[in-house]
Amino acid sequence: MSALATGVATAAAPADPAVGDAGGLLLEGIEKRFGAVRAVDGVSLRIPSGKLVSFLGPSGCGKTTLLRLIAGLDTPDAGRIVLDGEDVTARPAHRRDIGMVFQSLALFPHLDVNRNIGYSLKLRHTAKAVIAERVEELLALVDLDGLGERSVRKLSGGQRQRVAIARALARDPSLFLLDEPMSALDANLREALQVELRLLQQRLGITTVMVTHDQREAMTMSDVVVLLNAGKVEQAGPPLELFRKPRSAFAARFMGPTNLLEARVVGRDVVRVGIRDVHLEPGAHDKVVGAEVLLSVRPGDAAVVTEGLDDDDTLRGEVVFVRDLGGTSECYVDCGLGGEPLVASGGGRVHQGVRQGDRVGVHLPATACVVVEP
């Protein structure tokens, strides 16, 4: 029960009193092996009803396998899947109350838009008039009015995407699953549809699990992000918590660009980076004095300064490169720590005059420094 307890505690969104024990989706100690590979290795999570949870991770981290297990397209080797208080572990996909959007969208090429969307209703022997009405309603929901007669082969990428969403929602499932739903779309369309799909999910209040490898997509759309690595939950929580307080170097890197600095604990809430003391927020770590730790600092939180170079919390170095993108600019500063130069883009555009070769300081505010596991 202890593994489960930690999983639930970390995965649950900020306490929502409306969520009873019965609602939503519960995963208990899920395992799935393919030969010698543990694709999913003991995952326990509670996904509260009405929320959108995304499984984020690099390819091969087990996120799609986990989604297929939830859908019932594969069976787990161990563990339990409970949907709305009912144990569905042994039930095949067609006997679970789910709707799923596939990576390839998987629209039936031999059926037109209406028949694709109405497929699940026809299977349940719904009356023709009722199906037609529901399909109309769904077409309106995804802004495809009037395209019902169209062959799915003659739709644009965005339209196909919408048909897949409408089809998955047709029978009002209690769980909505999305497997990298935007991967077939070009970048601009993807950004727009992310917002649209999130708004739709909130409007319908449907429990949703999404798989993605795109950190930006996960942050745009999710209530809770579950970061997976090698079949295990690396960290789970609200997107901003994962971004601001990553617990591991993996999480820090995966959630966005970051600087990882080796440091040594020299006192309570003080670490030494190179020759300089850097102050941390109270309670930032539980290591003893002398311990080696890893600091993660987002480039946006690290500011280039040209005064007070000898102050605490400021690393001295030489600017090796300036990437000026107009709106933002990044300074690459070699602070003599070995490894990659530090990237700093914080502090607005105070460092506008800084040029390659200048001696500058990089200020690391206490709130920006997070101690992470290597």
Partner: protein, 311 residues
């Protein structure tokens, strides 16, 4: 003005903007002699080895048979008149019926079989495919005599059934129509599988998964998704088996009584044993025409249906 030397946007000679990449088409190089030969050589071979013999056969069917097993050039419709007799019309219709039955049975078994084969992991799929391809290397003669043994009274399958207790005494299942159909289906099965395999393999797993998540049981998924998507290749497999079995003569001869003989058996019988080559030629022509008619008719109906559906 900056004094950077930036080249102007590329333009065509007339000063119009360069065309889009989408619209631009590379000028086609003129085919060389080597490339032309790639088309012409097979075409010539086809003419030399198919059209010419076909013409000779057509001519032969009008030749006159002379005693002693020979024939001489002439123009007589004797052979065709004999072919139009009740007996041969009956045998022709019988042949078509048997071959349609075999084609239907073989396709009905091979289609679901091949579907499951394409869904298997490679580790199990490859040995099965090798076994099926190995069956192709067996000659028709060996297959026919093997089935003769399997269905015979002395050593056949009925002995097993007696031993199990299903039958009271062993019985010969050959010669008979059942034996002919079984033998033909056995030979046609691997061809049917390899015809169906590529197109069934191409059906994306996510399509059937999607049907499952929408509430379709595996059998429902097969009927509503796989069957419609595989229709044209199933049709192709059916036609292949039909044409193939229509031309097969050893199986029906070994496993059937004369009343089970197909037209092909009569052709070999006339050509080899009765030395009536003109008559055999006439029957062969008829067989070819039947094959082409069935293939053409079914293809036409299928394309018409596809056109109607696409509208």
């Amino acid at each position: 003005m900056t004094d950077l030397d930036i080249a102007p946007a590329p333009t065509t000679r007339e000063g119009e903007p360069a065309p889009n990449d989408d619209e631009w088409e590379a000028p086609r190089p003129r085919p060389r002699w080597g490339q032309r030969a790639l088309v012409w050589v097979p075409a010539l071979v086809l003419v030399a080895f198919f059209v010419v013999p076909f013409g000779l056969m057509l001519a032969t069917s009008f030749y006159r048979r002379v005693s002693g097993g020979f024939y001489e050039p002439a123009f007589t419709t004797d052979s065709w008149a004999r072919l139009a007799s009740d007996f041969y019309v009956g045998r022709t219709l019988y042949s078509v019926r048997v071959c349609l039955l075999v084609a239907a049975l073989t396709t009905a078994v091979a289609f679901p079989f091949t579907w499951f084969l394409t869904r298997m992991r490679a580790r199990r799929q490859v040995p099965l495919l090798i076994m099926i391809l190995a069956a192709l290397t067996l000659s028709e003669v060996i297959v026919a005599f093997s089935w003769n043994l399997i269905l015979g009274r002395a050593s056949g399958i009925t002995n097993v059934l007696v031993w199990v207790g299903v039958m009271s005494e062993p019985k010969a299942l050959t010669p008979g129509l059942g034996a002919v159909v079984a033998g033909l289906a056995y030979i046609a099965f691997p061809y049917c599988v390899i015809t169906l395999f590529p197109s069934l393999k191409r059906i994306d797993r996510e399509l059937t998964d999607a049907a499952g998540t929408l509430g379709a049981s595996p059998s429902r998924t097969f009927r509503t998704i796989v069957v419609p998507l595989a229709r044209s290749s199933v049709l192709a497999a059916f036609l292949l088996v039909f044409v193939f079995t229509l031309g097969s003569y050893i199986v029906a001869q070994v496993l059937g009584r004369p009343e089970h003989w197909t037209l092909s058996v009569f052709i070999s019988d006339q050509a080899l044993f009765n030395a009536n080559v003109p008559f055999a030629a006439a029957m062969a022509m008829l067989l070819t025409v039947i094959s082409l008619t069935v293939v053409g008719g079914v293809s036409f109906a299928a394309s018409r249906r596809a056109r109607l559906e696409s509208v």
